[in-house]
Symmetry: C2
Subunit: 155 residues, 2 copies
């Protein structure tokens, strides 16, 4: 099962935008994300509704930040992309009336709820500025490695 990379992508974009002079077009962002502009608009629409970004039409238009990086947490962005389900594993619902199934799902739900709580608490304590600072560290340490550094990607 393929996972949802929207949160990661939007964080990626927002930090780039903070370092970018003026508005960033959907086309430019699409190149950053190796995708196409329509998908960018679709995804960014959620962020716009929450005021994290603005969009302008016409010449010189595009996307701009609605807040500073210090004022956005991972939790904010997670919610803005629609609070997608955190877990790829979950309860089955084949025989909703079966008490065995209910007991199983209850045990699983307890464990997942606890893990989700921990995760979201952590999300709430990390700002985009924290990530940008980490980026600056990486930049300072490995300026020559851009284009070659291992990334840990599965692909």
């Amino acid at each position: 099962m393929r996972y949802d990379g929207r949160l990661s992508r939007m964080l990626h974009v927002l930090i780039h935008m903070a370092r970018h002079e003026g508005a960033a077009t959907s086309d430019l962002i699409a190149q950053m994300l190796n995708t196409n502009p329509v998908v960018v608009r679709r995804t960014m629409a959620g962020l716009r509704e929450q005021g994290y970004v603005h969009s302008e039409k016409g010449h010189g238009g595009g996307w701009t930040l609605g807040r500073r990086l210090e004022e956005m947490t991972l939790l904010d962005i997670y919610r803005a992309v629609g609070e997608p389900p955190v877990f790829a594993v979950g309860p089955a619902c084949d025989r909703p009336e079966c008490l065995v199934e209910q007991a199983v799902n209850s045990a699983l739900a307890d464990a997942f709820a606890e893990a989700e709580k921990l995760l979201l608490e952590r999300f709430a304590h990390v700002t985009l500025a924290d990530i940008a600072a980490d980026f600056d560290n990486r930049m300072a340490r490995h300026p020559a490695l851009v284009g070659h550094a291992g990334s840990g990607c599965a692909s």
Copy 2:
């Protein structure tokens, strides 16, 4: 994104098997899970390899437990169904060489690793016997509600 219900289903089946006299056929199990016998065999194959169940061909054949419920934890079964990815959200890998993307993914990976650790630790401390005991409680409290009780299913 639809989640993976295999863990839940296998737990469901194993507890039923413990209460069942003799071997349970794939057909019977398929009815429990509201699916078909070939899918059952496919999924149970993983459990068989790990020794949690046995299968017998021919007359009177079918599936039997390879261990007592006290000797199986949620973690055991999670692993036996192939340790499917726990999370439905994850790092994107659109520009593996981009240091911003790397910083983002690193922040996310840390948070997810912590949550996964907590989850699996909890899985390790819950046996199938614990769930069966919870089932017994539900049975004692609501014997007349079978077939009507709300289940919390999203469906």
